[in-house]
């Protein structure tokens, strides 16, 4: 879900005039993730090699410690057993200066063992470790100043025993006398975060060279004038000026549109929500002052970032730092645990633990108060459609998203929302912009959908209304404008592979829910007075990936054919630990016997990285890539949509390389044994005939070999027996050439490679294995996708369409979802049960966004510390048509189709589908989400 890394985002800020300098600690930063005990039972695979259950299923279903939240100091090897606990007090006013805290209500017994205020942090040299506003300017509100955002912590209280901690927290909670405020003062949130604009005019048809596009020319960056973006002047000079000229041309054309065009203008609003991951933010940190080791156990989707930033934080303070030792358990966050500030509050707690481990774990009120939110979006859209042809002539959309009081990913969420707004339509002329606004709201960040749920839902609601106004079937209107393979997106890039939206639309048009909707409406309403029936359709395609996806995977076998697999991926609930293992099995014919996920230390990959993949100039990258150990990025945060395709690429390429470099030559050797060239000699058998399944190696009718036999031969001959790869994608894969000992030059879609040789390898080759038993192969050459490709925004899409069948009670305004049906395309499914679970779960979350979930942004919002699931209503089973939902998935075009990331797209189409269904039911359209019963009652009054 994270589309740029923190540093890349900050660098992007440089273009907007924000000076940033980030330095990194050279001291050893060791991030080590716990492989929690998800060891499966012996029967986790079915005879056909498909999983009977998830790799982590038994641990999860029996209540084993799996989440970071489950661990206490006593569970962590080498930690002292006495666990301390901490909590934060929060500001609930942002317009009065903070004066201090009054803990007198606690009496002497319940006073904290350590009270930490901003002034203490200053005295110890503790500052926000990342320059700029990404995490704001202060952890705790300084005395005499206003909180930068509602809910900002003002004090940290540490207790050395649980009972006093628990009792004190109960006493202080909800007591508005504890945090003391003084005089009124202006808000102190940061300046606005950034504005970007994507203008495109095609060259007369979708396939001709564009007249102007971000990919061909540039993304336009703006500043702010008050709360509105200020764009560079139009002109014929530099690329941005020409872009503004193109924007002006589109605006003029819209203004001049005549009666032959429908010009539809609407403002849409998508609300702020809390992702409500059931595991609230938490961490446990033990700072050992004698050794200077910072031991951390935190819930995070971005462990590398947490380790690095924690190292910077402590090393700049008066606390001595030797090592950061990070452990991360399984977690879940839907993006909100990616680059969150919370782990660094955990570090503060640990530093003030007097040498004891300190646990800081949000309860649900606190999670609402400080957990990252989904951005509220305001969208000002214009759609121009030719009445005669039903073709879209142009579309524009200018968006603002409220990022709250810390920048976080707000800027990139804004522009990713803008680049997604075209949804599934080809737009000959388009002008979309995103402007990320700062405010006193609780900060928003990377949350499932990443801006696209907001913008695509609006587009889909608009298309539905346009169809009604044009008296055209809404699916026919979509068919007339559908984005097809080879066409360019609003950034001017050609998406990867086949776009199959047309196929989905044709299926949808035939679906009984759509075909019979008017008849059924009449029948239902005749039989159910006071109820209105409607069917709505939503159809979107969501990008997956970030434009800087990096991963490492490793596969090796021993002389008995036992497969070991390691990967940087860690589990956030999506099932990646299961699907990566299955992908190995799909290529090597057997699922690994041993898996090691969340591997952070890779001695065989001595890579150097600048971690500036989005902002590095082409010249700089061209120079740096000469170093065969340089890579634009080491590894990506875990997000739900990057696992199967991007993280899976490293898995698949490692397996394929092992197939080519080890399995095939070893099998050939066995088949060639004996007089006259053995069993293979009379045949002509090609590499592409090699088939691995059920632990057996076959090719062209030759005698089947067990993987064990082949492995033994590879080891005997000293062939390659282990492959580690590093992959990098910038909307296209990096490729490199490697001179492989004994195998010649190979070109692979990876940018780094390490090899391990079999037991029988000669001493001189074994001597090359200097890195924990591996040899790193310095690449002979590398091709990185050009840096200009950053402007592509997106090239990988997965589509999904959803019908929603609803009934509206015109008395109460309640919307009941009778059923829903979805059609999705995701390439090759690795584990269909996981795909189906994603669809069902994503739709439930979308139902919440469409109908139920809502947070006010400011004083009465979550920053006030009173929000919980009693008043913030999450979708329950009765809300999601649990027994009447269906889905179909298009078959892959061939068995070689790559799998596509779908964890975000699955939750989006249902949102406009419900809005459009409500419109069909009651004849009223809503432009602000969620569509609550109250809004419906008002509309019908």
């Amino acid at each position: 879900m994270a589309h740029v890394s923190r540093r890349d985002f900050l660098k992007t800020g440089v273009a907007a005039g924000v000076a940033i300098k980030v330095s990194f600690l050279s001291a050893p930063v060791q991030a080590r993730l716990i492989e929690t005990p998800p060891h499966p039972g012996p029967d986790w695979l079915k005879p056909d090699g498909r999983p009977r259950y998830r790799l982590d299923a038994i641990a999860k279903v029996t209540g084993e410690k799996t989440f970071a939240r489950d661990y206490r100091a006593r569970d962590l090897e080498g930690w002292p057993k006495d666990q301390s606990h901490a909590f934060l007090l929060h500001a609930t006013k942002a317009d009065q200066v903070f004066e201090g805290v009054d803990l007198s209500i606690l009496g002497d017994d319940l006073k904290p063992d350590r009270l930490v205020l901003h002034e203490d942090l200053v005295a110890e040299g503790i500052v926000i470790p990342v320059p700029g506003d990404f995490y704001g300017d202060v952890f705790l509100v300084p005395k005499g100043q206003t909180a930068r955002l509602l809910g900002q912590p003002v004090a940290l209280l540490v207790y050395h025993d649980f009972a006093r901690y628990d009792a004190a927290k109960r006493l202080l909670r909800f007591d508005d006398r504890v945090v003391r405020y003084g005089a009124k003062a202006p808000y102190s949130h940061p300046p606005h975060y950034g504005a970007a604009r994507y203008v495109r005019i095609d060259g007369g048809d979708p396939f001709a060279e564009d007249r102007y596009s971000p990919l061909k020319d540039t993304v336009i960056y703006g500043g702010f004038s008050g709360d509105d973006p200020a764009w560079p002047p139009a002109g014929d000079g530099d690329a941005m000026a020409r872009g503004m000229t193109a924007a002006a041309e589109i605006e003029k054309e819209i203004a001049a549109a005549g009666q032959d065009a429908l010009v539809l203008k609407h403002q849409y609003f998508s609300q702020s929500i809390d992702a409500s991951a059931m595991e609230a933010d938490n961490g446990n940190v033990w700072y050992d002052p004698t050794t200077g080791v910072l031991h951390m156990m935190v819930a995070t989707q971005s462990p590398y970032e947490v380790a690095e930033v924690a190292a910077i934080l402590v090393s700049k303070s008066k606390f001595k730092l030797g090592t950061v030792d990070l452990k991360a358990g399984y977690t879940v966050g839907y993006g909100t645990k990616d680059h969150s500030i919370f782990p660094f509050f955990c570090v503060l707690a640990g530093l003030y633990g007097d040498g004891r481990p300190v646990r800081l774990a949000n309860d649900r009120y606190e999670q609402f108060q400080m957990g990252l939110k989904r951005h509220a979006f305001w969208m000002d859209n214009v759609l121009v459609i030719d009445r005669a042809t039903a073709k879209i002539r142009a579309m524009t959309g200018h968006f603002k998203n409220d990022g709250g009081g810390r920048a976080n990913f707000s800027f990139s969420v804004g522009f990713v929302g803008a680049t997604a707004a075209q949804s599934i339509y080809y737009l000959p002329k388009s002008d979309f912009s995103g402007a990320a606004i700062a405010s006193r709201a609780v900060d928003a960040g990377s949350t499932r959908g990443y801006g696209t749920l907001q913008s695509m839902s609006a587009t889909e609601m608009m298309i539905d209304e346009a169809a009604e106004l044009l008296s055209v079937d809404a699916i026919d209107l979509r068919l007339a404008n559908v984005f097809k393979s080879g066409m360019k997106n609003t950034q001017g890039a050609i998406p990867a592979g086949a776009l199959r939206n047309e196929e989905i639309l044709l299926k949808a048009r035939q679906h009984p829910l759509w075909r019979d909707r008017l008849t059924k409406k009449a029948e239902f309403e005749a039989a159910n007075p006071g109820k209105r029936y409607g069917v709505g359709y939503g159809h979107v395609q969501k990008d997956y990936g970030t434009g800087a996806e990096a991963a490492i995977a490793s596969i090796e076998f021993d002389a008995t054919g036992r497969l070991s697999f390691a990967h940087v991926a860690h589990e956030i609930g999506t099932g990646t630990t299961t699907s990566q293992a299955i992908m190995v099995g799909d290529i090597l014919g057997r699922v690994p016997d041993e898996t090691h996920y969340a591997k952070v230390v890779w001695p065989q990959m001595p890579l150097e990285t600048t971690e500036e993949p989005y902002t590095m100039s082409q010249a700089d990258e061209d120079q740096r890539k000469q170093n065969p150990r340089w890579t634009p990025s080491f590894t990506s945060p875990m997000s739900a949509t990057n696992s199967v395709y991007y993280l899976g690429h490293a898995t698949r390429e490692a397996a394929r390389a092992l197939l080519d470099l080890a399995i095939w030559p070893a099998a050939l050797a066995l088949w060639s044994r004996g007089i006259g060239g053995g069993a293979i000699a009379p045949y002509t058998v090609r590499r592409e005939e090699l088939r691995l399944a059920h632990g057996m190696v076959n090719a062209g009718g030759l005698p089947p070999l067990s993987l064990g036999d082949v492995a033994a031969e590879a080891h005997r001959q000293g062939l390659i027996t282990g492959v580690t790869v590093h992959s990098f994608n910038r909307w296209q894969w990096a490729e490199a050439e490697f001179d492989i000992p004994g195998a010649g030059r190979h070109k692979l879609p990876v940018d780094a490679l390490a090899l391990k040789y079999g037991d029988g390898a000669p001493d001189d080759r074994k001597a090359l294995q200097t890195l924990d038993g591996w040899q790193f192969i310095d690449r002979a050459g590398v091709t990185y996708p050009p840096t200009q490709r950053n402007n592509a925004g997106v090239t990988y899409y997965a589509p999904m369409a959803t019908f929603a069948e609803v009934v509206v009670d015109i008395g109460s305004g309640e919307v009941t979802l009778l059923s829903h049906h979805s059609i999705m395309e995701c390439g090759t499914q690795i584990v269909p049960e996981l795909v189906s679970g994603q669809i069902q779960g994503g739709i439930a979350m979308g139902v919440g966004h469409a109908l139920k979930e809502y947070l006010p942004l400011y004083e009465d919002g979550p920053g006030d510390g009173t929000w919980n699931w009693n008043r913030y209503e999450l979708p329950r089973s009765k809300d999601v048509a649990v027994w009447t939902q269906t889905a179909e998935i298009l078959a892959p075009l061939s068995e070689t189709d790559a799998p596509k990331g779908i964890a975000e797209v699955v939750m989006i189409a249902i949102v406009p589908a419900i809005a459009n269904a409500v419109a069909q039911a009651i004849g009223r359209r809503f432009y602000a989400l969620p569509i609550t019963a109250e809004k419906i009652r008002e509309a019908l009054a």
Partner: protein, 181 residues
Amino acid sequence: MTIALKKLSLTVNGKAIDPVDVPDTMMMQDFLYEYLNLTGARMGCGQGICHACTVIVENDDGTLAEMRTCITGAHWFEGRKVRTIEGHAKRDASGAITQLTPVQQAFIEHFSFQCGYCTPGFVTGATVLLDELKRKPVARADLERTISEALDKHICRCTGYVRYYEAVRDVILNTPGLIKA
């Protein structure tokens, strides 16, 4: 303010817990986490809304009841027999799992959960439902509604409920005596 302590003794997963001093105001979930190191009954809301934290109380008459540990004080459980998620599957002397319950087995085979945070609550809720159906079987036509009514109080944020409910339906249909003849 001084913390008032009280002795608490109860049986958890078949093991008697010796009387232990526990603050009067402490909630059961915190007692399970901090005193017994049983962290499977998970804190979700602390308000009794989401039911991620539930445990089974084994009543003297042999019936089972589902209790929310986030809003029920630890001392309410004085003298009671409690089954937490850690106590459902059969284990050998070393603590290794030897057999899952039918509900657990169905949940894993249906891929019912993703993150799994809410899973202990669903196992607990479904187990209590099965226990109720043993005494009061349901007509086949009412089965889906019965499951929905029994488990609707449990919140799942990842998987959209479908695979939990389908798994529970399978277990009920495959367990003799739970459906009216």
